[in-house]
Symmetry: C2
Subunit: 327 residues, 2 copies
């Protein structure tokens, strides 16, 4: 399969009108009136961000879903994306077709997301795939990392640690005590097909003073909000939401506290951590039920810098590394 | 140097206000009123698109310049870009700083181009670097590949073949007959720092029915216009502009015709090939002088498909491969 065949047969059917049939040098986007554009770009490298040789639909899904998570954290709605794919020697025509299927599946799940354009090249090394996602928010309403104030609540959507457990499983690490099938399936899904929390965009634009998606780890990403906003962040470890399966795993470790710290610093959660004034508590709790997205109050902001993780008694728990750093 | 140090010390100073200090998950772009956005994305892989181990400013310059060339072909003005950099083990802190210097040099040369955001990751394999460029054109005025009509002229800016000769030199291939220092310098510059023809954007929007930049080869890219427009393209080989040094090289080969065919199919020219009605000839010739950008009429469009390359007597010259295919 040549580049042109791949583009014509597998990528062109994914293109929106902005992509001009993928036969031009560039895409053309007429910006939606009354909106700002939100741009985000994430790169996945084989052997770093996904297991070696995993060349099919799963990587495509993960790429778009993690990028969509960035848009979700900003209160944005997805529009389209530019794709770059560096194809390794062992990726054959069937794997390339499967990769395109994965893109298509995410586009269907998050309509009207469309492919706008990009570049496909070959590489002698690991597969490298990048997407630039383009989303929109009503003008001036993008939720920044830098808007948190002292005395606000810290919230998180969903549950923490499932992506980490899924990665453990993907890497064939022994998980002990042995999980239920239900727990294992949830972890795997959470890792491979994280759910970008686009449903809560409207709520975030209304109540959140700051937000970020949890990719580097809950502690690190809460810290990014604190750092950008100039406030300190306190997280209450007992308040942080884990699913039953994840909780049982942590509880079964020799050092339970260390296991929980691992869960909240591991990353790959793609949940949204956000700050909001206490006056918004009822609204958030109500929206959580309406939207069927768990939202849990896990801490607060204070004068100062950095992130403190506390137990029930408000005693600080020392943490060696706050989360994933990329190199 | 950690990722955060690299971003804070070397990339953040390159960011425009859209980049929010590179401390957020995403960039925010308020679209310019009365304009369409033009998006293009190119990827360079070490060992495929540039020589192994070439980790400094040169790759950064080439990346942005080749992407800017796509914007130039569409009649667009550059605004900003999203960058993805997969850093190989042998790329040290000094090389990363040099890479950022290269980005900065191009931003200065093509102001108001600014960094909006992106992603930096590590890889165990070759360096892979991608940029998504964002430009603007007045609404509805993007120059497409698909607008050519039968009976129009085909034009090209600048000179053809210098990028190819520069690559030969970069790859330490023997160049015979030996070129002058002037010729060698021009070739090297053309390969490393191709000049995106942004200066002719206004002219293209006014006169061009279709345009593309010459990256895959003059014949292939003229063919892309023909294919997208549904017309045949005839190129007159004796009319195609070469610099004296390039012409002397071709003339010194055992098979002169084969050498010239090589020059017009090799690619890496980053000139603009475009079509325009014959009524625009005077305007284009005048603009060429005004803008100090050579523009040469090299053929015409006709009923049919594909590209024919002809000699003076209008006899067709057979060509085995029309240009670079990416895999």
């Amino acid at each position: 399969m040549t580049e042109f065949d791949f583009i014509r047969d597998h990528l062109a059917p994914l293109a929106g009108p902005e992509g001009l049939g993928l036969t031009d040098d560039a895409a053309r986007l007429t910006p939606p009136a009354g909106h700002d554009l939100v741009l985000t770009k994430d790169t996945l490298v084989e052997g770093v961000h996904f297991p070696n040789g995993m060349y099919g639909a799963d990587v495509a899904e993960r790429l778009l879903r993690t990028n969509l998570s960035d848009l979700a954290a900003k209160g944005a709605l997805p529009m389209g994306y530019m794709l770059s794919l560096a194809i390794p020697p062992a990726m054959d025509a069937a794997m390339m077709a499967a990769f395109a299927k994965g893109l298509g599946a995410v586009q269907e799940a998050f309509a009207p997301l469309k492919l706008y354009g990009g570049d496909t090249v070959k590489t002698s090394g690991p597969m490298v795939v990048t997407a630039t996602l383009i989303g929109k928010v009503p003008t001036g309403q993008m939720v920044l990392r830098s808007g948190a104030r002292v005395g606000e609540d810290v919230w998180v959507s969903g549950h923490i640690g499932e992506g980490f457990m899924g990665l453990k499983h993907m890497l064939s690490q022994r998980i002990d005590p042995p999980p239920t099938g239900e727990a294992l399936w949830r972890w795997e899904e959470a890792y491979l097909r994280p759910e970008p929390r686009l449903k809560i965009g409207g709520l975030l634009r209304k109540v959140a003073s700051a937000a970020a998606d949890v990719s580097d780890g809950l502690v690190a990403d809460a810290g990014h909000i604190g750092g950008a906003s100039g406030v300190g962040v306190v997280l209450k470890l007992p308040a942080i939401p884990f699913t039953t399966g994840t909780f049982i795993w942590a509880d079964g470790q020799a050092d339970r506290l260390a296991a929980k710290i691992q869960l909240i610093t591991a990353g790959d959660d793609y949940e949204i951590v956000f700050t909001a004034p206490p006056a918004q508590r009822d609204l958030i709790t109500h929206a959580s039920r309406e939207l069927d997205v768990p939202m849990t109050r896990i801490g607060y902001t204070e004068d100062g810098t950095g992130v403190k993780v506390c137990d029930y008694a408000d005693d600080s728990i020392p943490i060696a590394s706050q989360g994933y750093t990329h190199f």
